[in-house]
Symmetry: C2
Subunit: 876 residues, 2 copies
């Protein structure tokens, strides 16, 4: 092993900047050293060398050249041995500090650093070396220290007298001799080699392997070691150790803060035995703390820290927390880890880094997890708030809100009139509750899944919502909510819903308010300039359309026309249409719905000002529009002058075993063609009205839901074409429109070639497609999805992350066949997955033209689309 000397690397050698050689810590220290950050000199023992040493021992592998390598660090210096795996959280043996002290050189050390300090450093060496190398129980040694502190009547070793420190050191040496059977080694080189070998062997222990493999380390993960000159925070003069942060964790705002402890080593400042000081005066004053901050006691040190922080940010392209030591007034940087930051701070940081020229816009865009943008868009519970959960369910609509419990939409509305915030609590919601949902600040339902009425509407409104909280029980009559632990809440009590985590909490919670300008806006602008795919919003009403515009979308990808019928003023006309006995009666009701729907479309088109609008024709089963309770049925019967039995009978007739798979979507058109004809007419008349005065003409996109056979599309197309010709004849105007289909059954995906011959666009409804591909109702799956994901049956909830292996293959098949049959066919996706970054990336890979999701998720989609474009361009 004669080449061993060559196999160590100096930290200043550029070769040591490679994490595959030096591990994460080693490579970062080397890079900082290269940047001119004051990193103590040291050598790296790369992965392969440490591996050899683990197998063959330090003597065989390192001799006779190690000492030559160490000579470069300076003679008589104290050394630290630190571990450096490829990823920091894979663990590795604890650092051993102060290597090199012996009985013989102790006096010289004392002369250099002070008597107390030298004694304490020696004791600390025996402590960490004894535990890490000689196998002594660290607690035994600590007990000796605590006994001594107790005897001396002081709280920390700093307060011990020199005499006490000497006795303590003797105690340590004696205990070491007793435990190990030999005196503490008195040769610095022996101390060092044994420390290195122990670290190398410790890495191979089965328990260490298991631990790191649990964190994702591969079986053959290696360890690098760093032998580095000690910067002595225990030293005469202005000496100590601390940690410096360069941003505010919560906001990302630049600003030095942190902790520092004089006469301390390593992470002593964080350990809490003694009280550290703050780094900056401003922070100290803001917190009303007396005494001096480091800035006040040693302004040059903080200035040096500021510059070190800036150097690291520039050189490493991120903001780091820096662990430092001051030895006799001189700064040494011992370590740097990426600065902890909230999701919001992360955006601020990358935008600042771009503006400082430290990273590129592309890097900034790729650095942010799109899902974290949610925190910008909705109020969030302050992470420091103590949570008192009273029920768990599905995180149906993100954001949090506190308010008084109400059990009825009416109560929510009346309290809203008094500007009282409310949380609407229901078993489940139905279309009649919508106005109450508008009035409430948050929503909680006992039943339902991610596509329940409550969840869908709440997401559309941006209303924090938790559904499927099955562990609470409601007594609507008594006006009480009883949670699983037996606690009882009454109407008017204050609770909080956390729609981002799917929890209900007792009481009010402190909130962080949303922020969508500033750095967020800048980042969004870069994303828009980078992405290829268009991002549209799902928006059903003029109000939704306004929200969508506020989010700067490229158009509406899904306007669910049924939402327009749930309005109180319209639902009964809708019901008359459904209950009609003859085609004439049905047409009569439809004639009254026509101007209402046309009016909506006019407003929608005007708001969207020429942007693309895709209107989906009526989709849900008709029974969804009928009243559910006997009281409501009686009311409707009176209004329609019909026997209530007639309404009950009709409702029973329309009832379905599996509404998801029933008489809905295009199937309505095959049996009741008048409905789609009315809708087509409403769209065409609205287009002509708007185009007569608008500058940008509207070319509406009409979408047929739930197709599974090409013939369905041909039938509907012929009828819509006939309506268009009628409207043209009546008005003398020329109509332009596009007709497309929603691909949401597996069969539609398989037959996409047929469909694309008739359709000018295909929009993948991945919610339904996932339900049908898995044979899994999203509303019903909530109950066991958690078990399923926890047991690893599904790697993720397929309703959140597109199932690439199953549903994804259908998208792939469909897009290929569709494009082959009709190269001009426009492809998009309009399920919830359109707001899921991995799914958006998959859409980019398939060459989709657009994604469409809820307005509140469009920022996520915009960033995800930008990332996808960058990654696909880079071939990753």
């Amino acid at each position: 092993m004669t080449e061993s000397a060559d196999r160590t690397l100096n930290l200043r050698d550029p070769a040591s900047c490679d994490p595959e050689v030096s591990g994460e810590r080693g490579a970062r220290l080397a890079r900082m050293a290269q940047l001119g950050v004051p990193v103590p000199r040291g050598v790296v023992l790369p992965f392969d060398l440490v591996a050899d040493m683990g197998r063959h021992g330090a003597n065989t592998v390192l001799e006779p050249h190690l000492s030559r390598a160490l000579d470069s660090l300076g003679a008589d210096t104290l050394l630290a041995v630190r571990s450096s795996p490829l990823q920091r959280d894979w663990g590795g043996p604890q650092a051993i500090l102060n290597i090199g002290i012996t009985d013989a050189n102790l006096p010289a050390l004392a002369a250099r650093v002070g008597q107390r300090q030298a004694l304490d450093l020696y004791r600390r060496l025996i402590q960490s070396w004894g535990a890490g190398v000689a196998g002594i129980d660290a607690e035994d040694l600590e007990n000796i220290l605590y006994d001594r502190l107790k005897l001396a009547g002081v709280e920390s070793e700093e307060a011990l007298s020199v005499g006490d420190l000497k006795v303590l050191l003797d105690d340590y040496r004696a205990f070491y001799l007793e435990e190990v059977g030999q005196p503490f080694p008195q040769d610095p080189a022996t101390q060092l080699k044994a420390a290195l070998e122990a670290a190398a062997k410790g890495w191979n222990r089965p328990s260490a392997k298991l631990l790191r493999q649990a964190k994702g380390a591969p079986a053959d993960a290696g360890l690098a070691l760093i032998a580095q000159r000690m910067a002595l925070g225990l030293c005469s003069g202005n000496s100590g150790a601390g940690i410096a942060h360069f941003i505010e964790e919560k906001t990302g705002r630049p600003g030095l803060n942190g902790r520092y402890l004089a006469q301390a080593q390593g992470l002593d400042a964080m350990m809490g035995l003694r009280t550290p000081v703050l780094l900056c005066r401003a922070e100290r004053e803001a917190l009303g703390i007396s005494g001096q901050s480091l800035e006040e006691s040693c302004p040059l040190a903080t200035e040096a820290l500021q510059m070190a922080g800036r150097l690291v940010a520039h050189g490493l392209g991120d903001v780091f927390d820096v662990q430092f030591t001051i030895e006799s007034g001189v700064l040494h940087v011992l370590d740097a880890v990426p600065a902890r930051r909230s999701a919001r701070a992360a955006v601020r940081v990358v935008v600042d880094l771009v503006e400082q020229g430290a990273i590129t816009r592309e890097q900034a865009l790729l650095r942010i997890d799109p899902r974290s943008l949610n925190e910008h868009l909705h109020p969030q519970i302050d992470p420091s708030h103590r949570r008192d959960p009273i029920g768990r369910g599905l995180a149906a609509s993100p954001g949090a809100a506190s308010g008084r419990i109400v059990f009825s939409p009416e109560a929510a509305m009346s309290l809203a009139a008094q500007e009282v915030e409310t949380i609407l609590v229901r078993v489940e919601t139905s279309p009649e509750d919508i106005r109450g949902m508008h009035a409430a600040s948050g929503l909680l339902t006992v039943r339902g899944g991610m596509t329940s009425h409550a969840a869908v509407i709440a997401r559309g409104l941006g209303l924090p919502c938790v559904v499927g909280v099955t562990d609470i029980r409601l007594d609507m009559k008594a006006g009480t909510l009883r949670c699983a632990d037996g606690r009882m809440f009454h109407e008017g009590d204050i609770i909080t819903v956390d729609g981002s985590r799917g929890e209900a909490l007792a009481g009010a919670a402190e909130m962080i308010q949303p922020e969508i300008s500033g750095a967020f806006g800048t980042l969004m602008g870069w994303a828009d300039a980078t992405r290829r795919m268009r991002v549209r919003a799902n928006a059903d009403t003029p109000q939704d359309a306004r929200t969508a515009r506020a989010f700067e979308v490229d158009g509406i990808g899904l306007c669910r026309t049924e939402q327009m019928f749930f309005d109180e003023a319209r639902i009964n006309v809708m019901r008359e249409m459904i209950l009609a006995e003859t085609v004439e009666e049905r047409r009569g009701a439809l004639d009254r719905l026509l101007p209402m729907q046309r009016g909506d479309f006019v407003e929608l088109f005007e708001i969207m000002a020429g942007l693309q609008v895709t209107i989906r024709l009526l989709d849900p089963p008709l029974h969804e529009f009928l009243p559910h309770s006997r009281d409501e049925m009686r009311e409707l019967a009176e209004q329609m002058d019909l026997p209530v039995s007639h309404i009950i009978h009709r409702a029973e007739q329309l009832q379905e075993f599996n509404p998801m798979l029933g008489m809905r979507g295009v199937r309505l058109a095959v049996t009741m063609p008048e409905i789609y004809e009315m809708q087509a007419r409403a769209i065409f008349e609205a287009v002509l009205e708007v185009n007569s005065r608008a500058e940008a003409p509207v070319i509406p996109e009409i979408m047929i839901p739930l197709v599974s056979a090409a013939r369905e599309v041909e039938l509907v197309k012929a009828r819509i074409e006939a309506v268009a010709r009628d409207v043209e004849r009546e008005t003398g105007a020329r109509l332009e429109y596009r007709l497309g289909v929603m691909v949401e059954t597996p069969r539609a995906a398989l037959r996409a070639g047929d469909l694309a011959r008739t359709a000018s666009f295909m929009s993948f409804g991945t919610n339904d497609l996932t339900q049908m591909t898995y044979g899994l109702s999203r509303d019903d799956a909530g109950r066991f999805m958690r078990d399923y994901v926890n047991q690893g049956v599904y790697p993720e909830d397929p309703f959140h992350a597109l199932d690439l292996e199953g549903v994804g293959e259908l998208l792939l098949i469909a897009s290929r066949r569709g494009r082959k049959a009709n190269p001009d066919v426009v492809l998009g996706i309009c399920g919830e997955h359109a707001g899921d970054p991995a799914s958006v990336r998959f859409c980019e890979l398939l060459g989709f033209d657009y994604v469409s999701c809820s307005p509140y998720r469009t920022p996520i989609a915009r960033l995800a689309a930008a990332q996808a474009a960058l990654l696909v361009k880079a071939g990753r």
Copy 2:
């Protein structure tokens, strides 16, 4: 056009036996002539010649060589021109008979055939030639005849005097002259050419084209013509015409029967102006008719007919109805069409033909539509019964039954005890009704589709059943059934359900009883010897297993274990299991279910005596087992000593929006693993018990339903394996079993490669797979499926005929991927499609190992599998 003479073919020329040249009739006549059947001589004008004639006229195309061809038929003979398209039902101009009579040769004809006959033949010529060639309205000519009959005071022209006949002929000639402006043509060759040209041109008329295209003819379908020597049934001596059948239409039993009319032509015997005689004495006597049959008046003629029939059957490989003429005591065969026969007769006929050596077994197997076998297996309403429908629904379970209306299972049971046949009428059925369904003779439900509880159970029981009869209304309190036309039926009134046609009829109906031995049994034996795929039955209970054995199946392909829990004695233990609050309580209930289930399996295995049995673990959502009405809930609460509110709450908790896509199948196992563990133990213990005394050891096949991810299978497999090891430890015995999956979600089909690595068999549940691929609930689709098929949106109901383009592609993908990952994986299908011949053929193409369907459909599957094997072998 000098080659025209060569372009006609003599009927005795073997080239004219090709239907692509001579059409169906021409080719058949030619073949009969070849066989030695006395077919009058004639020439064929093939398709291309007739087409030319249609374009260019007879003179251009036929001259100058036609006469030479006709010379071969003999001079001075009368001719008939008949049309012969490729398929008889594509139509073609009417035959023109007696061509060649002129004023000049009439006396010679009279001398040969008799004065009366000659006059009548001339009149008939003018009638048919005038209408078919000269464009006279046939009715005008007929009116002249009827006027003359009236004047003469007789009923038919046979009774007219020679004088009357002469006057009538003059009237015809005069009318012809008046209408056409020229006298009736007096040159036989002119008559013939005009008749041929008129037929050729008539074929090209747009109305004729439309008519035949509606019957499936291609746009360029051609017409051949036959000019054939007349056999004169209007002739002196023993002359006449008739039709002979050689089997009994209803049973297929051999036996000459038919009609004959003396002094008649063509189909006069069928026209009803005069009363024909029967052919055979036996038939005449059986019907108690006086007079003489043809057999009695001319025994040689019937003997000749018998031989002609046998010759035709041998030569043409089928039994034909023969149209014949006797001219002066000599038999002439004019036409033969395949004998009409009932579905049952068809089987008898092909078996007899094989036994006569007329066809091969393979031909026999291919000749029978497997679906027609249903008529052998269930009582059928006699086709001659006058039907009085009171409601229409879905044909949910074939066969027919009459009985008294009962509205409750209890009433059905109590009347069954008195041996009174009942029809159970319900809105829909639930598991508690099963014993009543056993007791009833037929079942009618207002709601439900082809997979509703009623339909599934009825098919399993072989009970005639109509579901989804939405046009009737029940008043259970009043005990009345009101049908759409307002008629009211009461409990105890007799009605009939026709489960083969999906109809309910008023009153009792005459039935044809099933027959599964005799020819049917012989054919099944041949099918079994021919098919490659195994045919198994879906059988849930020991009783079903016995039925399956009676149908000689190869094993059980699907045993739905849930059916065992619906038994009255067990359902409450099942309910306790479901309502259990803790794992211990649940195990307690399962411990009580274990011996019951084990007992079922013991019985099942013993009945199946070593044949393969595939047991599907629990599949339906748990709420299906809970009581539905408040009364039942109260009862259960009392029994379990629980507050009824608890049961209501639990039932509400378990309720699902889309049970088809909910918490069922393998999903139960992931959240409540104890259930499958109990079932596995019951199977293993039963196997050991049976194997300890049986000769053929049972190797059970355990099937996991509704998988969509390989990890589900791995989880369940590990648990079942653990149970197996436990049982082995406890008993010291060795267990052998196979574990497989049901592929019934599109995702399972796509991921079949993953699944096949863990599963030893994959059984395609095409019912659910079709539902999910289309996004279409079978139970809910009943309402609009008829519209969908009628409007051609779906070519067929995909729940009856496997959708090859969508579901079929998934089967193809899955079978390829499955076999690639595991070449030994056994593939089968266990949906209803397993009893659909086209689907069975598709399974053969994909190389499946077995199909499994309801016991009552296994004969269909056996024959279909045999046909599929033959066709695939032949590369068709």
